[in-house]
């Protein structure tokens, strides 16, 4: 039997490195020339982005008629992708805010990256509602401003709640990320000798000078932001779930949607963070900072959230039967056995079955296994949204108005493009800013805090 020593706290960073070596290993990659691997990676992602841009261009030129959406499935890939990407973003805030409040110190090494991912994912997500309006240049009408029509937006519509939720989420995530970056930018400013970079870092770091009087307020602000980001992240996916759940569509209107969506969002987000981190720690050679222990903990979170999602699937089925409502019952049978059954079973397999591997420590700590499972989870969570959006719409109350949804190549092109955008931004980010929070990692090193509190 494996013996764990519970009397000591496991270190966040392996090998007890010195403060200056942390600087080195995190900042070094920014100062060296990009490797060939990076160029290959960014060309692939730029190609994907280009495919998306062309598809989007055609959509804008000709209109959303080029998509696969039609009656009765009026929400297709656009909304599926929107929900998917917003969900991806949630892991970032969870890691940076909720785990911060829970004082999980292992979060420090992955928080910066996860926050950046949140911002990029929300950017990808925000794209879809904007373009699915058909005439995105009129999206200004989504904002409540006194316009010449003397009309106001409908504040009681969940679609407008989305506008508020996603824009608030984006702003607060950006602020949170930036606040975390300020000390690191100051460190970069003090380190660089390049004049142009120095100017840029000086402007961005606002003149931060690592002052103890500032750290005090800074930590307070960080705590407050974390305290706000936590309910915010719940509210965002809750409101996304309201888009569906306040309706009376069978399969959409069910009260478990808010927590179920949040759990699913965290689940898929962790999978995405996991995927990208595995690559980054390898390429950057920072395996001692983003340790296997950290990845294992993330796998545990994935196992837990995966089971929450499974619980929701089961509850939906049970209550659909229990409700005695034949339409509700039909919708769920239709999900499992109807024309989109393949999507449903893909979802169940990827989201509920594969993560069960993480019950075993061997698989939790195996990089290839966790990488593959995380990919499956991403696929499964995408299909979850597909199942929710499409199966319900394609077969609603009236059999006379049933229809199938088949995405067009432009739908697929824009989906590829959103991945292109996401990865392009990530690749640019890892070349320009420290992927790990330097100040935070320094603060959790074993020798970096005074040995006897200091205040008594």
């Amino acid at each position: 039997m494996r013996v764990i020593d519970y009397t000591i706290e496991p270190p966040v960073v392996e090998g007890n490195p010195s403060l200056s070596s942390i600087n080195e290993s995190i900042i070094k990659p920014l100062e060296s020339k990009p490797t060939r691997g990076w160029y290959i990676a960014i060309s692939i992602s730029l190609t994907m982005l280009l495919i998306g841009a062309i598809s989007l261009g055609v959509t804008l030129w000709k209109g959303v008629g080029v998509w696969g959406v039609n009656q009765p499935v009026g929400w297709g890939f656009d909304i599926v992708n929107f929900v998917f990407w917003v969900g991806i973003g949630h892991a970032g805030t969870l890691i940076s805010a909720i785990l911060f409040l829970l004082r999980q110190r292992w979060r420090t090494s992955i928080a910066r990256f996860a926050e950046a991912m949140t911002i990029f994912a929300v950017m990808c997500a925000g794209l879809f509602p904007l373009i699915h309006t058909g005439r995105p240049w009129l999206d200004g009408y989504l904002l409540p401003y006194p316009n010449q029509h003397a009309l106001w937006v409908n504040f009681t519509s969940p679609l407008l709640w989305d506008v508020f939720a996603v824009s608030t989420y984006f702003t607060v995530s950006l602020v949170f990320w930036y606040i975390g970056l300020i000390p690191d930018l100051a460190t970069l400013r003090d380190r660089t000798t390049n004049k142009i970079l120095k100017t840029i870092y000086s402007i961005l770091s606002l003149g931060w000078r690592h002052s103890g009087r500032h750290w005090q307020h800074y930590e307070m602000a960080y705590l407050i932001l974390a305290g706000f980001a936590t309910p915010l992240v719940l509210s965002v996916h809750t409101i996304v779930s309201f888009d569906f759940a306040v309706s009376i569509m069978p399969g959409w209107h069910t009260t478990i949607f808010p927590p179920y969506f949040v759990a699913g969002a965290v689940f898929s987000g962790f999978a995405m963070v996991q995927n990208v981190l595995i690559i980054i720690r390898k390429v950057f050679r920072i395996e001692h900072i983003i340790t296997l222990d950290t990845l294992e903990k993330m796998n545990k979170v994935m196992l837990a959230t995966g089971m929450m999602v499974g619980y929701a699937y089961a509850m939906e089925f049970f209550i659909a039967w229990y409700s005695g409502n034949p339409i509700e019952q039909f919708v769920f049978l239709n999900r499992a056995l109807g024309p989109y059954a393949w999507a449903y079973w893909t979802m169940v397999t990827c989201n509920v079955l594969f993560p069960q591997l993480f019950w075993f420590r061997k698989f939790r700590r195996s990089i290839p296994v966790m990488f593959i499972v995380a990919v499956f989870v991403n696929v499964g969570m995408w299909f979850e949204r597909f199942v929710i959006v499409v199966t319900t719409l394609s077969r609603d109350y009236l059999p006379s108005s049933w229809g199938m949804y088949i995405p067009s190549i432009y739908d697929i092109g824009i989906l590829i493009g959103s991945f292109g955008l996401f990865f392009t931004l990530i690749f640019l980010f890892i070349r320009t800013l420290p992927v790990v929070s330097i100040a935070e990692v320094k603060a959790v090193l074993n020798s970096s805090q005074p040995s006897h509190g200091g205040n008594h």
């Binding site: 106001w152 009681t156 460190t187 800074y218 330097i438 970096s448």
Partner: protein, 377 residues
């Protein structure tokens, strides 16, 4: 270098435990204008510096609550006062549906204002011209060293004493830090900066003007001025005709719509067409109604050509002229159908039978004004 003004004396410390005890000594020695610099936040440092707990929470509370209140009042005003609109059978004032937006606005306002307050009001950022910035001291504390800075403006400050004091506390290096000359004068009024502002504002306003007034009206930003759509019975232009059954067969005639063969031949119309209706009471009633609707605005209620439109159009001739009284029914029918001079044809608005009924009614009017001798008896 002649105007060098001392900002502070700063000492570097290597070890965090030593730093904390040094900070306690500094605090106890009565210095008030001093600061500690470290590459990361140190637990227990605020207590060692005897700092009061951060009051930032109050800023958050105030801005958060005002955000919630603002959102609530705004939505109430919009939904109940300014533009009440029933949506989904819900009342105008519906608190549960306001909660999500209230929550989001609260978070947005609290988070953004807390950070802005801290950075711009408490820290007075951006401040890149602070004397400590770009010094050897700063470069050290931003990597792995710790530093204590005693400012020259401290009431009990004395250069040599402060230096010795820091050394005695275990500082490995002690720096004297001076104001840079350029710090003293604010740079906001530099010509370069003002020029930069001016050019930026010009570019921004030009681009905004172009986007809002020109770009947005170019393709593909259509404003629904031109749309792909079918008018009833129109020809398909954007899909192959064989893919639909919308285009009628060549020469198809719609029911009840016989083609009118005399469009260009009023003489033949007058000669060949005969009123198919009898002037019954029913017919005349229809004729009167249609006359009053379509003819009377120009021709007047009794056909005198006294337009109700008061000269917006040239008045039409009276219907009681000899020419018209002697014209056969077919002639009048032709004029109603095809039009004459500026009078448009009414074929599309008035059905064939109704047109003949109007002709009967005109005959009635004519006989009423100029009765036949037999009528007068």
């Amino acid at each position: 270098m002649e105007n060098k003004i001392l900002y502070s004396v700063s000492g570097i410390f290597e070890d965090v435990n030593k730093l904390i005890s040094a900070v306690k000594t500094v605090t106890d020695s009565g210095y008030t204008k001093f600061d500690v610099h470290s590459p990361y936040p140190i637990h227990g440092l605020p207590q060692a510096m005897k700092l009061k707990p951060s009051k930032l929470g109050w800023v958050t509370l105030v801005f958060g609550l005002s955000g919630a209140l603002f959102a609530f009042l705004f939505m109430y005003w919009v939904n109940v006062i300014d533009y009440p609109l029933i949506v989904g059978g819900k009342p105008f004032y519906q608190l549960p549906a306001y909660v999500p937006v209230m929550f989001e606005v609260t978070v947005l306002s609290a988070a953004v204002f807390t950070v802005a307050w801290m950075l711009f009001i408490m820290f007075k950022f951006p401040n890149n011209s602070h004397p400590l910035i770009d010094t050897e001291y700063m470069r050290k504390v931003s990597v792995d060293k710790y530093g204590i800075t005693i400012q020259a403006s401290d009431p009990i400050f004395d250069l040599t004493r402060a230096k010795e004091f820091l050394q005695s506390l275990g500082a490995s290096e002690v720096f004297e830090i001076y104001f840079r000359e350029s710090n003293v004068k604010p740079k906001i009024f530099d010509k370069k900066f003002i020029l930069f502002l001016g050019i930026t504002s010009l570019i921004v306003s030009g681009v905004t003007y172009f986007i809002l007034n020109h770009l947005l009206f170019m393709s593909p930003f259509n404003w629904m001025h031109e749309q792909f759509r079918l008018n009833p019975q129109s020809k398909l232009t954007f899909t192959k005709p064989e893919t639909t059954n919308l285009t009628p067969v060549e020469g198809t005639v719609a029911r009840g719509f016989l083609p009118y063969p005399y469009t260009d031949r009023p003489d033949l119309a007058e000669k060949n067409l005969i009123n198919p209706l009898l002037p019954t009471e029913k017919t005349l009633k229809v004729g009167k109604e249609k006359y009053l609707t379509f003819c009377s605005p120009c021709h007047g209620n009794f056909g005198h050509g006294d337009s109700r439109l008061k000269g917006q159009f040239p008045n039409p001739p009276t219907l009681h002229s000899d020419k018209l009284r002697n014209m056969k029914d077919g002639g009048i029918y032709h004029i109603i159908t095809v039009g004459q001079n500026i009078m448009p044809g009414y074929a599309s608005q008035i059905s064939s039978d109704e047109r003949w009924a109007i002709v009967h009614y005109i005959r009635v009017l004519q006989r009423a004004i100029n009765p036949k001798e037999s009528d007068l008896k």
